[in-house]
C-alpha cells in the first residue's frame, strides 16, 4: 500500500474540515443553537443570580447535548447520499481509520467549538469564572464521548430515510451518564467543592468510548453499506 495510515487519516481530516468550512452556515448552526437556548433561560426565568447558578449546570449540559445531536446526522449521511462513502469504503484503506478521522473532524467542528464558546454561556448563566476551567474540561470530555456515541448511531442509521429521529433515540439514553457527571462536575465547581470525582468518571467514559466506539461504529457502518 503506497499511502500510509497516518497520511490517509490526515487527508480525510483535511477533507472533512475543508467541507465544513465550505458550508459556514451548517458549521455555525449548532453553536448558535447552543448560545440561543442557553440565553433563553435567564430571559424566561427570573434573572436572580442564585436561581440561575442553581440551574446553570443542567441548562448548559442539556443544551450541549441537543446541539451536538444537530450535527451528528450529517456525519456519514452526506457522504452516503452523494456516493462518496462507498468510494471511501473501497479506497484500499481500513474503514476504521476513515471512521476515526471523520469522528475526530466532527468533534473539532462541533464539540471543540462548543467548548470554546462555552464561557459566553457561562457568563450569561452567572457561573463564576473560577468554575470555567472545570466547565470547559467536562464539556471537552463530554462532547468527545458524544461524538463517538453519535458515530455509532450515525453508522447504524445512515441507510435509513428518516434516520435522525432514530439517531436521537439511540444516542440520548447512552448520553445520560455524561449529563449526570458533567452537570455534577460543573455544579460542584460552582459551589466551590472539588469536582475531581465527577471529572474522573467523565474522563473514564471518554477513554472507554474512544477506544471501543471506533470498532462499533465501523461495524455499524459496514452493515449499513450493504
Amino acid at each position: 500500500m503506497s499511502v500510509g495510515a497516518w497520511a490517509a487519516m490526515s487527508l480525510i481530516l483535511r477533507r472533512e474540515l475543508c467541507l465544513s468550512f465550505r458550508r459556514p452556515g451548517q458549521l455555525l448552526q449548532p453553536l448558535v443553537f447552543f448560545l440561543i437556548v442557553t440565553t433563553l433561560f435567564p430571559l424566561s426565568l427570573s434573572p436572580q443570580l442564585s436561581l440561575l447558578r442553581d440551574m446553570a449546570p443542567g441548562v448548559l449540559w442539556v443544551a450541549a447535548l441537543l446541539s451536538s445531536l444537530l450535527s451528528l446526522d450529517s456525519l456519514f449521511k452526506s457522504d452516503a447520499d452523494d456516493g462518496t462513502l462507498e468510494q471511501l469504503a473501497i479506497c484500499g484503506q481500513e474503514l476504521g481509520l476513515i471512521v476515526i478521522a471523520k469522528a475526530l473532524a466532527h468533534w473539532l467542528v462541533s464539540g471543540a467549538a462548543l467548548v470554546i464558546v462555552s464561557p459566553i454561556v457561562g457568563v450569561a448563566l452567572g457561573i463564576p469564572t473560577s468554575a470555567f476551567a472545570t466547565m470547559m474540561l467536562s464539556l471537552a470530555f463530554g462532547t468527545l464521548t458524544l461524538s463517538w456515541l453519535g458515530a455509532i448511531g450515525a453508522g447504524l442509521t445512515v441507510g435509513l430515510r428518516r434516520g435522525n429521529v432514530l439517531l436521537s433515540l439511540i444516542v440520548l439514553p447512552l448520553a445520560m451518564p455524561l449529563l449526570i457527571f458533567g452537570a455534577n462536575a460543573t455544579d460542584r465547581a460552582i459551589g466551590g467543592a472539588s469536582p475531581a470525582g465527577a471529572l474522573y468518571f467523565l474522563a473514564a467514559l471518554c477513554v472507554f468510548t474512544c477506544t471501543l466506539a471506533p470498532f462499533a461504529a465501523t461495524a455499524a457502518l459496514r452493515i449499513s453499506l450493504e
Binding site: S2, R15, E86, Q87, C91, G92, Q93
Partner: protein, 209 residues
C-alpha cells in the same frame, strides 16, 4: 498465457434482497486483457453484481476471488487494485473537481496536482478543474468520475453505466479509454445497455430479470 488466478473469479454467487432472489448463482471468470459487459433488464441485479464484485456487499452464497484470494480475506489489498464507479458520479458538490480527485486518489497513491490535472485533461474536463462539482453538468461529472478511475491506476475497473449522460464524443472517449486499459493488461467489468465494440477480448454476461 494468463490463467484465471491472475484475475477475477466469481463462483455461484447468490444474493437475496429481502424476499427477492436477485443474483441466482452467477459465475464468471475474467483474466487480464479482458472486458466483461454485463447487461440485462432493469432490476436484473447488474448494480448488485458490481457491488458484490467490489466487496461492498457480501453474497449469501458463493465466493468472489481476486488473484486466487477470496476478496473478504484481503480486503485492503483487493481494494487497492480496484476502481469502482457507481451510477452517480460520487463527487462532493462543495469541492472543486480537482479537490475531489485529490482527496480520493490521495488515499490510494501519491500523485502531483499536475498529474491529476492531466487525467482531467484526458477526459476533456481540464477547464472544470477549479470549479465546484455542484455547478458541473451531469456529463461533466461523469467525465470527472472517469478521470478518477484513470488516475487511480487500478488494474480492475468496475463501471456502472459509464456511458450515461455522455455525448457521442464522450461515449467514444470512454470506449477508447476502456480499450487502452484492456490492452495494457487491465480488467474491466462494465454495466452498459448498448453493445461495447472493442478490438480486444470482450465477454458478455446477460442477467435475467
Amino acid at each position: 498465457m494468463n490463467s484465471a488466478a491472475d484475475g477475477l473469479e466469481v463462483d455461484r454467487v447468490h444474493v437475496w434482497r429481502g424476499d427477492r432472489h436477485v443474483l441466482k448463482g452467477v459465475s464468471l471468470a475474467l483474466r487480464p486483457q479482458q472486458l466483461l459487459q454485463v447487461s440485462g433488464p432493469n432490476g436484473a441485479g447488474k448494480t448488485t453484481l458490481l457491488r458484490v464484485l467490489c466487496g461492498l456487499l457480501r453474497p449469501e452464497e458463493g465466493t468472489v476471488a481476486w488473484r486466487g484470494q477470496p476478496i473478504h480475506k484481503s480486503r485492503a489489498q483487493f481494494h487497492a487494485s480496484l476502481a469502482y464507479s457507481s451510477h452517480d458520479a460520487a463527487l462532493k458538490g462543495d469541492l472543486t473537481a480537482l479537490e475531489n480527485l485529490r482527496f480520493s486518489i490521495g488515499l490510494r497513491r501519491h500523485l502531483a496536482s499536475a498529474e491529476l490535472r492531466a487525467s482531467l485533461g484526458r477526459t476533456g474536463v481540464e477547464h472544470c478543474a477549479d470549479l465546484p462539482a455542484r455547478v458541473l453538468s451531469a456529463g461533466q461529472r461523469r467525465r470527472v468520475a472517469m478521470a478518477r478511475i484513470l488516475a487511480s491506476g487500478a488494474a480492475l475497473w468496475l463501471l456502472d453505466e459509464p456511458f450515461s449522460n455522455l455525448d457521442s464524443a464522450g461515449t467514444e472517449l470512454v470506449s477508447t479509454l476502456l480499450a487502452e486499459h484492456v490492452r495494457a493488461g487491465g480488467l474491466a467489468v462494465v454495466v452498459a445497455h448498448h453493445e461495447i465494440r472493442l478490438a480486444g477480448d470482450v465477454q458478455r454476461l446477460e442477467l435475467a430479470a
